[in-house]
Amino acid sequence: MNASLSEKKLPAVWAGLLWILTALHIYPILLVLLSSVRTKADLAASPFGLPKQLTFEYFATAFQTMHYLRSLFNTGLIACLSVGLCVVMAAMAAYAIVRRNNRFYRAMYILFLAGIIIPFQMTMIPLYKVLQTFELINTFQGVIFIYIGSLAPFSVFLLCGFVKGVPRELEEAALIDGCGRYRTFFRIVLPLLKPAVTTVSVLNVFYVWNDFLLPMLYLSDSKKMTITVQLASFQGLYFNDWSLIFAGVCMIVLPMLIIYLIAQRFIISGITAGAVKG
């Protein structure tokens, strides 16, 4: 009898159930794709059939209604700046926390960890006041700063785990050669952390891209709206125009789908960090 879990043959019943589960996960995605290229009448007549004729009219309409290029740019700008800045700062903080490892830095680590369980709803109301004080309401900076703050806890948590795996010897050699702390970090440690930094960045980009409440509250200026907020606002107006909504959904999801296909490995490694005892 074979002992291995992974080499045992799967009984047909389980395989069948798995295919049903997979189908349940494919169907809604197919539905969105198919519905977005069908006319309204066609969709209403047979919502779960195949399209009779293809139309890209809804993509064109959604492109205009969502101000696609502008809101795509807005979202991209916010995501890149907040994630880029946050990950570098978090890597620096994680480096100090792991290398110093005294009482103060351990306390700071716990302080960061506490941030993981703070619900956004808790900061949502006072943040309005904070942004008013700094005159950051309706500005990209305001939203970016909040993202840096709210992404920091999880990023520090993940990066601390990765910094522990960086050998000290290389840094010590550099320090002895007269390299300063900062140069040692940016020239030696950060390049070694590249896979970790990529992982954390990708996870954070998904978070920012999919977030909706924060930009809805603090970036209500129609010229600065992010892509998901645009969709949510026209979803309210064209409530039953499903083809249009689905065309919009496709256009929001497309960039993330591309990143997912390219960076799948990094996403999985970020999600599973800590799942296996090291």
Binding site: L5, L24, I125
Partner: protein
């Protein structure tokens, strides 16, 4: 002596500067607002005027039917989703950790919805469950099962479970991926030992597999729990908290009192403090329990 002292301080300062940037953003934009919430929760603040009212907001909360309903709903959502998502995620992982044709495809497809915004997922399922042209009711009608047709998102009792099921559907792959990593980390020899001792089937799972994926279990259950207690997007997109306030969660009710129907910011702050306290206590209890299980091994 003096230079030595100065050098040490200089080194300490340098280390501190590594910590400060991230810490500053976190302090100003997350911790400071969190702490000021505590103060605001004791005031009657509408965004402009505020008066100190002591614990009045907290007292009001426990008499407010809408708030009590939102806490009950949040309990249902949290328990329902955490149990289903981790249970089904574990089952899927146990099956998909094996090698057979199509396994990578299955894993990818089951995980895929997790990367999309739960708001968009909400819209899509809103269409599927739509009472008149939605797929579910149409299909039931076509099969002659009209009596099973329902207002999936308009009847409170059903709508709450739809929120649970749709969130489970979306996040199942997340738990599955964590469990697969945990399962792959189990050394093969242990199963061989188990085989010699006659541990097969469920006993093997109970005594070898399950204890050894304890770290994966801790992470998946804890993060699911924290996320579910703050459930917002799904509800916003699927039911908007309705009908009435029948499907509101605590997170959506805070939005409702703060930005939706009014600007009761003091009241909203009191609610958010209560939500935070609940999350904190539950997380600490859960992590302590699960970690103890890990250590016992």
């Amino acid at each position: 002596m003096n230079t030595l002292f100065r050098n040490r301080w200089k080194a300490e300062l340098q280390w501190l500067l590594f910590l400060v940037p991230a810490l500053a953003f976190y302090l100003v934009f997350i911790l400071l607002p969190t702490l000021s919430s505590t103060y605001y929760s004791l005031t009657d603040w509408d965004g402009i005027n505020s008066t100190f009212v002591g614990l009045a907001n907290y007292k009001e909360m426990f008499e407010d039917k809408m708030i009590l309903a939102s806490f009950r709903n949040t309990a249902l959502y949290t328990v329902g989703i955490t149990v289903l998502q981790n249970g089904l995620g574990l089952l899927a992982a146990l099956l998909l950790v094996r090698k057979f044709r199509g396994v990578n495809f299955m894993r990818t497809m089951i995980f895929l919805p997790y990367i999309f915004s739960s708001l968009l997922i909400g819209y899509v399922w809103g269409f599927i469950l739509e009472p008149n042209i939605g797929i579910v009711n149409t299909l039931l009608g076509a099969m002659g099962l009209d009596f099973l047709q329902a207002g999936w998102l308009s009847e409170p009792g059903i709508a709450r479970w739809m929120i649970v099921l749709i969130t489970t559907w979306q996040c199942l792959g997340y738990s599955m991926v964590i469990f697969i990593a945990g399962l792959q980390g189990i050394p093969q020899e242990l199963y061989e030992c188990g085989d010699l001792e006659g541990a097969t089937g469920f006993r093997r799972f109970r005594h070898i597999t399950f204890p050894l994926i304890a770290p994966a279990f801790t992470i998946s259950v804890t993060l699911t729990l924290i996320g579910d207690l703050q459930l917002f997007n799904q509800i916003y997109a699927l039911t908007g908290g309705g009908p009435g306030y029948a499907t509101e969660s605590v997170a959506t009710i805070i939005y409702r009192v703060g930005f939706g129907t009014g600007t009761q910011w003091g009241y909203g702050a009191a609610l958010s403090i209560t939500l935070f306290a609940v999350i904190l206590v539950l997380t600490v209890i859960l992590v302590t329990l699960l970690r103890r299980r890990e250590v016992e091994l």
